[in-house]
Amino acid sequence: MARVKISEYRAKKLILGNAYRGLELQGGVKLPGRLTGQWVAKVDQGVKKRFKQGLVAIGSRSKLVAALNSWKKKGFSRFIVEPFVPHKENEEQYLSLERVREGIRVLHAHNGGIDVEAHPEAVKVFVVREPADVKKLVHATKIPESFLSHLLETFNANFFAFLELNPLVVRKNEAYLLDAAALVDSAGAFFTRVWSESDIVETKSRHPAEERVKALDATTPASLKLSVLNKNGGIFFLLSAGGGSIVIADHAELTGAGKLIGNYGEYSGGPTREETYLYAKEVIGLLLHSKAKRKALVIAGPVANFTDVKKTFLGIIDALSEKVVELRKNKVKVFVRRGGPNEAAGLGLMREFLKREKLLGAVYGSDAVITRAIDEAIPTVC
């Protein structure tokens, strides 16, 4: 969902088409046997400040091979290799495009390679609302119109959200993209054929539980999100709703319990009993694996509009039922606050279940404040 990074290779290929001579190395793809001249190799996984981190190598084939091997040892798996473009530092420019409400916001600076956040004064801002605005942009930046128009068109047609060319070198009518970073709008994946899921790069690896929830999320119109924050945390969250879940997590942070939070996540948009079961199972698994001495499960959310409390709670109860013995052994107590359709029935089922299984911390409905469950859970794990 949302804005995601795609590989530099794919971004450049989309912009330059067949003229681009760069190569993508990943999976089993190896460097060609012969490379004439000077080449550049870079880690292509959306990592920032690659040069400083030693993730860029320039030179002959043998030099690149050595660099690639050392990066692989560090755990990187995706690389880009392209011809080196010798240039002077004063040729470098900065150019970025971002989709905004009014159109495309273009940032440009004549001295490239810079950190634009640190030097806002060097950057000129333009907003391209309609094709005619390109002329003004050409006039101000001196970048060839053919390249700028093509760039904007590529950006627009392929669901780009952000594109940074830094540095960019322009010689007469030729533009050389030395470095490119691109974010695409993941919702565009259905509408475009030119990039796909496989071009999306991940900067950090995911926890297996996160992987499974992501896979589950992809197959339902409901929303299921999970991030592992502290494997050995004391508070584990089964939260609902995109906004309400943040309010509850905020409250933990404001009460000084931020570091105790084991996970963040949320289910919303009316998941079925089965989907909620599969989701809850992952959170309960994380909780049971935590080495913290005192642990609590917080099932909380705002007053839902259409997510059925009874149906989703039945799914959670299904997941809890499988682990009651382990949960009791871990002395886990469960704290609940939730409202919405079928609230009374859902809360009743949950209270009865927790009581019977000796897991009851507290169960509250929509007449209690949204932060009530987390409030009561925190003292039990501190």
Binding site: M1, A2, R3, R99, V100, R101, E102, G103, E117, N156, F159, A161, D185, A187, G188, F190, F191, P221, S223, K225, S227, L229, S240, A241, G242, G243, G244, S245, I246, V247, A249, D250, H251, A252, E253, L254, G258, K259, I261, Y264, E266, S268, G269, G301, P302, V303, A304, N305, F306, G339, G340, P341, N342, E343, A344, S366, D367, V369, I370, T371
Partner: protein, 595 residues
């Protein structure tokens, strides 16, 4: 744009739903009903798999028409439409929204429910409609104008929630939020603190809501009913700076109580993507803390904790509104019908077939004559033809509840053709449904031939434990005669002798003496009279009549006309297609199987 709230409050509330979400759609009708509207605001549903969708308006069921696409909406519905409720997925929401606004240029706005609408689609919608329409989303739960419009899941979907949110009564507090769940939480907080909502818009958690936060503030500023604004926002994006600007420039002059969620982001090493698309900090000024501070600086009340935020809402000025309490218990006890159909034969108006000893309606009866000629192999007299004709007329249909009609309708709803659906209905005809005419002919024929008294005959049947076909009715009883039997009985007057009919009446005297419901029913009357008519007018011998019974001839008197009834039910289902039928779970009693 600024007049939209006013226009809607003045009755411009007609909604088209694109896509079907039964719970959300029902909640709109419930809101309308509790708000005291005379008619539902929902005009029709755009969906491909049916022609009608049943909903409750209060405790009464209404049928909402469904159309395949916007272009098929008839003119009389079209002219009432002002709002779009787009329930389609992110893949289709853009196209269908554009088609809606092209077909309804006079529309006031809409709600796009889907998450995962591409940013480029959202910005294109903004370019086209951003200045003139009020459009909540993409994503979120919609628009609520207290007492006037519920466009989406906003405020909840069950009656208890609609009642608890108190938004059937117009109040003075505008509620705006990026998050659906928090919109509802705030509506409830406003209600719980003794306030009422004037209107509420969930702009959604996407990066580019079509109607922006500033647009909503402009609406709230222009709205005379609104005295204060409550806002919930999250980390990511820079909308809150727009509020700050409006406050600073005094373009928004009413009190603002705001909460910006996302302080938790500070507990992590890296900025995290939260549930909504926009909820990720890209730049330092997008953090919850920075945005809250900007709001406070501009004069908004924006507490650090949620508890203080609720307190600030409670302290907002109250408007003088009196709460009304609806009797939702009664409405909640409603049970939906499971099939809808049309009355095909009006059973309350049975014509007189015989008047003053003569056939009342001298027609050609050509179909009945030809049918009997085909069945019996010879031409029949006018009396026989008239009796068949009148029998056909009476038996065309007996309502949609009978098992054969149910099977026809269920088959039609499964998308099957006329012959299959008719066959499904006909295959139900048998000993317990519709097959009684032949069986009672068998009973009367054997009773008369045996020369036993009616009392002995009844005693014999009773001893064997069998029921006499042709006797007994669920509704009619002694004192409340079946008008169809009464009308047919007049045929006895046309005959010199009618032993089978007399015998049937004798039997009836005995059985109805024990139980008032055990009267001669229409199947029994038809069988008895037809035996007598065939005997007298067509000179059938006892043996020939017995052969007809063996050949099941008398059931043809039911099957022929009822085929017309089944076909009528089939056509009715096709005209009013409600999609595949499924028996509601609560109508099933399910026992656990033994292992």
């Amino acid at each position: 744009m600024l007049k939209i709230l006013e226009k809607t409050r003045n009755g411009e509330d007609g909604i088209i739903a694109i896509g079907n979400h039964p719970a959300i759609i029902q909640s709109i009708l419930d809101f309308d009903f509790l708000s005291g509207k005379k008619k539902p605001s929902l005009q029709c549903i755009i969906t491909g798999n049916r022609k009608a969708h049943k909903c409750f308006f209060g405790a009464r069921e209404v049928i909402v028409p469904c159309f395949k696409d916007i272009e098929h909406v008839p003119a009389d519905i079209k002219k009432r439409v002002r709002w779009m409720l787009n329930l389609q997925s992110g893949r289709r929401a853009f196209d269908s929204s554009v088609r809606f606004f092209e077909a309804f240029p006079q529309a006031l706005g809409g709600h796009i429910f889907a998450e995962n609408v591409p940013e480029a689609h959202a910005t294109e919608l903004i370019r086209r409609y951003g200045r003139t329409k009020l459009i909540a989303g993409p994503s979120g739960v919609g628009i609520l104008i207290s007492g006037a419009l519920k466009l989406g899941a906003i405020g909840g979907i069950d009656l208890t929630q609609i009642e608890a949110g108190k938004f059937k009564i117009p109040g003075s507090i505008a509620v705006v939020s990026t998050s659906g769940g928090m919109t509802n939480e705030l509506i409830r907080a406003v209600a719980a603190s003794g306030h009422h909502v004037s209107f509420s818009i969930c702009i959604g958690g996407d990066r580019f809501p079509v109607t922006s936060l500033s647009d909503v503030l402009a609406l709230a500023q222009a709205d005379a009913q609104t005295k204060a604004l409550v806002y919930f926002g999250e980390l990511g994006g820079s909308d809150e700076y727009e509020i700050a600007e409006l406050l600073k420039k005094k373009r928004f002059t009413k009190p603002v109580v705001a909460y910006v969620a996302g302080i938790i982001d500070e507990a992590f090493d890296e900025h995290m993507q939260f549930g909504h698309a926009k909820a990720l900090v890209h730049r330092p000024d997008e953090s919850a803390r920075a945005k809250r501070e900007a709001l406070v600086k501009a004069g908004a009340i924006s507490p650090a904790t949620f508890t203080e935020f609720l307190q600030a809402i409670a302290e907002l000025p109250r408007s003088a509104v009196r709460d009304t309490v609806a009797d939702i218990e009664t409405i909640m006890n409603r049970t939906p019908s499971i099939l809808s159909t049309r009355e095909i034969v009006d059973q309350s108006e049975i014509p007189a077939f015989v008047k003053r000893g003569k056939l009342a309606r001298r027609g050609e009866n050509s179909f009945a004559s030809s049918a009997l000629k085909a069945l019996l192999g010879c031409a029949v007299s006018p009396t026989t033809a008239a009796f068949a004709e009148n029998t056909f007329e009476l038996l065309i249909d007996h309502g949609g509840a009978v098992s054969g009609a149910v099977n026809t309708m269920v088959t039609a709803r499964a998308g099957k053709d006329m012959v299959s659906s008719l066959a499904a209905g006909l295959l139900t005809v048998g000993p317990r449904f519709g097959g009684a005419v032949n069986e009672s002919a068998r009973a009367w024929l054997s009773g008369v031939a045996s020369k036993k008294s009616a009392a002995d005959f009844v005693e014999e049947w009773a001893r064997s434990g069998a029921l006499i076909s042709g006797i007994g009715h669920r509704k009619y009883r002694v004192g409340v005669p079946d008008p169809r039997v009464a009308a047919l009985a007049q045929f006895a007057i046309l005959l010199k002798k009618h032993p089978h009919y007399d015998f049937a009446r004798e039997v009836e005297k005995i059985t109805s003496g024990k139980n008032g419901k055990l009267i001669l029913n229409v199947d029994g009357a038809i069988a008895a009279l037809f035996l007598d008519i065939l005997k007298e007018c067509e000179r059938y011998s006892h043996e020939e009549l017995a052969e007809l019974v063996e050949a099941e001839f008398f059931n043809a008197l039911f099957i022929i006309p009822r085929s017309v009834g089944f076909i009528s039910h089939f056509i009715e289902q096709k005209l009013h297609d409600e999609g595949l039928f499924r028996l509601p779970e609560e109508l099933l009693f399910v026992r656990k199987g033994k292992k």
